[in-house]
Structure formats: C-alpha cells, structure tokens
C-alpha cells in the first residue's frame, strides 16, 4: 500500500478549520484549472464536502448566514484525497487531511474529553508526519480588537500558545524528514471586510498582514529554530482567504464569559442574491499539490536509487571473473538466470521511475508557473530567524 502524504490543520474551536478544508477541497477542478494535476476524493470525503457545499447553497438561498453549514466539528474526521498528474506514467498519490474538534487543542479543555485524551497522540503523530501545516486564523478576532483588553484577548481566542506547541512538534517532525517538503500556511479566514478586491470596500489588507505577522511571529521563530540547517527550507505562505466571498461582518462584540474573554461576531450575506466568490483557496490547493509533487519526487528518487543499487549488483555479479567450476555452478544452479532477470527487471524499473520522475518534475514546474492569487505571499525567513 502506498503511504499517504499528510496535511494537518491546527486551530482552536470555531476558528474555521472545517471551513478552510471545505474551501480548498470544493470545486477542485476549478481551483486547479490550468494546472497539470487533478485531485479526486474518496466517496466519504466527496460526500462530506458536497453536503457542506449543498447546505451552504441552501443557506445562500435563504439569505441567512447563521443557518449556514459547518456548524462545528465534534469528532476526528479524516479526508482521503488522491492527486494525479497528467501523463500516462503519472502515479496516483494519496494524501490525508485531518480535522478535529478545536477544543482538543487546549490541554485544559482536552482533559474534559475522555476520548480526546486517547485520540490526541494519533493527532500529534499525524502532525509530525505532515508535509503541510495549515493554520486557519479568524480574521475578525485579529482585526476587531481595538482596546488593550481586546488585544490581550486575541491570543487566547486564537489559541496561539497551543498552536505554537503543535507547530514545534510539526517542525521537529519535518527536521526528522529533512528530504520531504515543509510548508506552513497562515490562512486568515473570512477576510471579505478587509479587502476591496472581491466585492468589498475594505482597505485593511496591510493591517491584517501586520497583525498576522505580529501574532504568529513566535510560531515562525519556533519553526525556524527547530528546522535550522534543513536542506529544503520551510516555506511560509500567507494566504488571506475569502471562504465565502459574499459574507460580511455586521456586528462584533467583545465580552467576558466566566472570567474569560470571548468574541461574538455576526455575519450576513451581501449581494442579492449572494454569490459564492471564494478567494485564495485555489492557491493553497496549488501549494498543497506542489508540496505533494515535490514529496513524491523525493520518493521516486529514493526508489530509483534502490533499483540502481540492485541493477549495479546484478551487473557486477555477471561481470565477475569466475573460475571453471564456479562458472559451471553459476549456470547449473540457476543463478545466471536469476541475475539476468534481476538486471532486466531493475533496468525496466529504472526506466519507469525515470519517466514518472520526469512527469513529476514537469508537473511541479508547470504548477509553479501558474499565477498565484495576488493576495498570497511567500514570506522570507530572514525576518524572523
């Protein structure tokens, strides 16, 4: 069985983990249009994503955002997806995305969920092996904090300390798999109010970027420190996403519940009728596919080296000087047949792997050439290292 590449999502409750996954898995044909790859979901993932889309469409038809789908995750959910490149030799590359109830991120809260305690090590295992760490960020929590008290509440509400800890584990895992890609995506969600490029009138794109940078600076520093000296540097992608494109914040209210800060936000659909206009999710999907292609290329390189070793060993044995009796034994024992078969099989395997490798490299190059959403930035590590 081919091992799957893994993608982890990390964020507290109600931050938008499922929304982000749905945004990047919905309409993958559109999101990856013009790229050399296609993405197929298994039945359960496909049904789940389609249902979420359908319910969202029903909410759009009703014009009531508060009745929208994606009403909070209560169990661990795994999304199984397969990436296929173009070309006859393209392999199907499976990858899994893991979603979980956000409250599990908080040690104190997690202790209240008996099965979360037992499932948590599996989640951390998944994180450690993930090539991509997706960090959804509630843009409204960041941007609507004005007073010092509200600003102080931002980190707890976004679970920044817990996200940092998971980020540390992820980075340690990436260091252990130094030949695999490592991408962290900081994804502010529901950004419609702060941009003017998707039907809105906001001019706070710079402010949003600055606030994300400020709040997640510690995470980026942790990752940089844990992955120092890595041959394949960690790629940090900033992707402010409009998960709906037709939703706007109408009321933001800060309050204290049981001595803890909380933030209530109420949204409504804009436009009549409201139309979904997701932004920047496609670029995240492209980043994901690019990472998987690079990861698979590394797998193919390792496979090719293995085949080459076996081929060389066969050729060496064949060419080895043998005395009369050893030559007789070599042929009568059937070793010569085995060695010839080994050389033939490994040669064919090397040719196959080389063809796949060429396909993957071509697909990666073509994917890299596809223009990214102008909102998306790849951040240089120099600023926080």
């Amino acid at each position: 069985m081919t091992p799957s590449f893994r993608v982890a999502v990390v964020g507290p409750s109600r931050v938008g983990k499922t929304t982000l996954l749905t945004a990047i898995l919905s309409d993958t044909r559109d999101l990856l249009a013009g790229t050399p790859v296609t993405v197929e979901m298994d039945e359960r993932t496909s049904v789940r994503v389609k249902r979420q889309q359908k319910e969202l469409q029903q909410a759009l038809d009703r014009g009531e955002f508060d009745a929208a789908a994606l009403g909070g995750t209560q169990e661990i959910n795994q999304y199984h997806v397969t990436l296929t490149g173009e070309g006859d030799d393209s392999a199907e590359i499976p990858f899994d995305l893991l979603d979980y109830p956000g409250a599990w991120l908080d040690d104190e809260e997690r202790a209240k969920y008996p099965h979360a305690v037992s499932e948590w090590p599996n989640f951390l295992h998944h994180v450690r092996d993930s090539i991509m760490l997706l960090v959804p960020i509630d843009a409204a929590v960041l941007m609507e904090a004005v007073t010092p008290a509200q600003r102080a509440a931002v980190s707890p509400l976004l679970g920044v300390i817990d996200v940092n800890e998971v980020g540390r584990r992820w980075a340690k895992g990436r260091q252990m798999h130094a030949d695999e890609p490592a991408v962290v995506v900081l994804a502010p969600l529901k950004c419609e109010k702060y941009f003017d490029d998707n039907g809105g009138r906001g001019h706070q794109a710079g402010e949003l970027r600055a606030r994300v940078r400020e709040r997640y600076d510690a995470l980026l520093k942790i990752i940089a420190k844990e992955t120092a000296g890595r041959s394949m540097p960690v790629r940090v992608v900033y992707a402010p996403i409009d998960t709906y494109g037709c939703v706007e914040l109408i009321e933001a209210r800060w309050k204290t519940v049981a001595g803890r800060p909380d933030f209530e936000a109420h949204y409504r659909f804009r436009g009549r009728p409201p139309k979904m206009q997701v932004r920047a999710a496609g670029t995240v999907m492209q980043e994901l596919c690019r990472s998987i292609l690079v990861g698979q290329t590394q797998v193919e390189i390792a496979a090719r080296q293995g085949h080459q070793r076996d081929y060389d060993a066969g050729v060496e044995r064949q060419a080895e000087a043998k005395g009369f009796w050893e030559t007789v034994a070599y042929h009568l024992s059937g070793e010569s047949l085995r060695v010839n078969r080994q050389i033939r099989d490994q040669s064919a395997a090397i040719t196959r792997v080389a063809a796949r490798q060429a396909e993957l490299l071509a697909a990666t190059r073509r994917l890299a050439a596809v223009p990214a959403d102008p909102r998306v930035e790849v951040w240089s590590g120099e600023d926080w290292q």
Partner: protein, 277 residues
C-alpha cells in the same frame, strides 16, 4: 447516567452532547458521558455533525438534533443524544423521530426546554453538573417518546444486511423493524449515513463491521431495499474455500513434483535392473 424519570424501566442510561455559546465550549457530553463509545466501529461511516441514527443492540444514538441556541459566531448548535439499554418502544419511537426533521425538531425543542443556554454554558464551563441533575433534565424529553408499543412487523426484510434510502417509506419501516428487533436482543447494527451515498459504500461498511447491518442512505439511496449480505457474508467457519486466483506457478508445483518423483523412481529401478546387487 441513570435517568430519574417515572418511565425508568424504558432506559438505563442516557447522555447528551452539545456545545456552549462561547468559543471554547466545544461539543462535549454534559456530565460524565458514556463509559464506552460503542458507536466507534461505525464512526468512520457516518457524520456525527449531521442528523444520524445509530443503533447497536440496545444502544441508540441520534445526532444532529437542532437546538434554538446559537454559538458565538451565530452558528446553530445541535445535540447528540445517546441512550443505552433502551426498551423496544422507546427505541422505536426515538429512532422514528431521529429519521425525520420534524421529529428531530420536536426532540430538540424538548431538550432546549430542559437545557437552557445559561445552564449549558455553566455546565460545560467550570460548573460540571452532577449525573443526577443531567438525568433529571433529560427525563421529560425521553418521557415524551415511546408511549406506544410498536406494532407487529409488517415490513420485515429477510436479508441479513441491506441498504435502502432514507426517503423510501418501505426502507424506513424495515429500518424501524430492525431497530425494534435489536432492542429485543438481536445482534447487529442499524444506522443512517450522510457519509456515503452508494450501495457499494454501504457494502464496504457492512464488510468492515462484519455483523448484520441495516443502512439507510441520506443521499443516493437505491429505489428499493438491496441485499448486502451476499457480498459480505464470507465463508462459513470451518469451511475451506477453494481460491480461483492461485498463481499459475503454484498450480504447477504438485504435478511437477509428481513427475520428478516418478522419474526418480524409474531411474532407481533402471539402475537396480542394470546393476543388480
């Protein structure tokens, strides 16, 4: 936890999962919750964030029960109700309610009456409720169901495992019949699913569970009940199965060994004949 209703004979334990208004109060059971997550084997085949009914023996779970409460970002909150060691009338009645939006709405309203927003927020926060308190609040909602004994089965499906559509009246009746029989002590599962939308997917679930299964598909269900048993019954214990996929090489091993043995015997006989001792 034990319910404290006057209909105590109908159910041994009932649990309720929901979330609070503040962000950090995520979905969790009020009070201790079930000792065992008995629905775990089907968890990968259902979506507990959606309306589902899962029955295993005398245990029943209904998810996606709507509450009128909303969370901090205005999203509708829902309940998941788990009842264990449930008596047949209540199992039938609750499952029937769980299969239809009107029934779930009625159940949700009853639960909302017993579990007001402020109480839930406190219970999921730092003031954990006692089991007795949760049971006391659950009792009226459960007491509103299961008053009538289910009638004699008129829609019994003889297949060991089958799949039908949630919008097919015959399949729903057969499903409820299976629920009643499970509550009476039969083994197996009955569940609805929003996670799969094909007969093949239901067959895979039945294979994975390895027990009698009745499945109702929320989407993509067949026009009539379809037998899954043949596909997943598997060999009977103690029977050796003949495989038709024996590799060609292995098929030749026995005859080849026989020929070699025969030749060896002939050679020995020949040598013994030519060079007698």
């Amino acid at each position: 936890m034990r319910t404290g209703s006057d209909r105590e004979t109908q159910v041994t334990a009932a649990h309720l999962m929901t979330r609070g208004t503040p962000r950090r109060l995520d979905y969790r059971f009020l009070g201790a919750g079930p000792v065992e997550r008995w629905w775990r084997p089907v968890q990968d085949w259902v979506v507990l964030e959606q309306p589902e009914v899962i029955v295993c023996g005398r245990s029943l779970l209904i998810s996606g029960i709507p509450s009128a409460r909303k969370d901090a970002i205005g999203t509708a909150i829902r309940y998941t109700l788990v009842v264990e060691d449930v008596e047949r009338a209540l199992a039938h009645s609750l499952a029937a309610a769980g299969l239809h939006s009107a029934g779930r709405a009625r159940l949700g309203a009853l639960l909302d009456a017993g579990f007001p927003a402020e109480w839930v927020d406190a219970a999921l926060g730092d003031t954990a409720p006692s089991d007795a308190e949760v049971a006391r609040r659950l009792a009226p909602a459960l007491a509103a169901f299961g008053r009538d004994e289910p009638g004699a089965a008129q829609h019994r499906v003889r297949h060991r495992s089958w799949v039908g559509a949630l919008d097919d009246g015959e399949a729903v009746a057969a499903f409820l019949d299976r629920v009643t029989r499970l509550a009476d002590g039969e083994s197996g599962w009955a569940f609805t699913t929003s996670a799969i939308a094909s007969v093949k997917g239901a067959g895979d679930a039945a294979d994975a569970l390895g027990a009698p299964v009745a499945v109702l598909l929320a989407d993509g269900g067949p026009p009539e009940v379809i037998d899954l048993g043949k596909a997943q019954a598997g060999p009977r214990p103690g029977l050796r199965t003949m495989t038709t996929t024996t590799p060609l090489r292995r098929r030749w091993v026995v005859p080849l060994a026989g020929v070699v043995l025969l030749v060896a015997i002939l050679v020995v006989v020949l040598i013994a004949t030519v060079f007698p001792l």
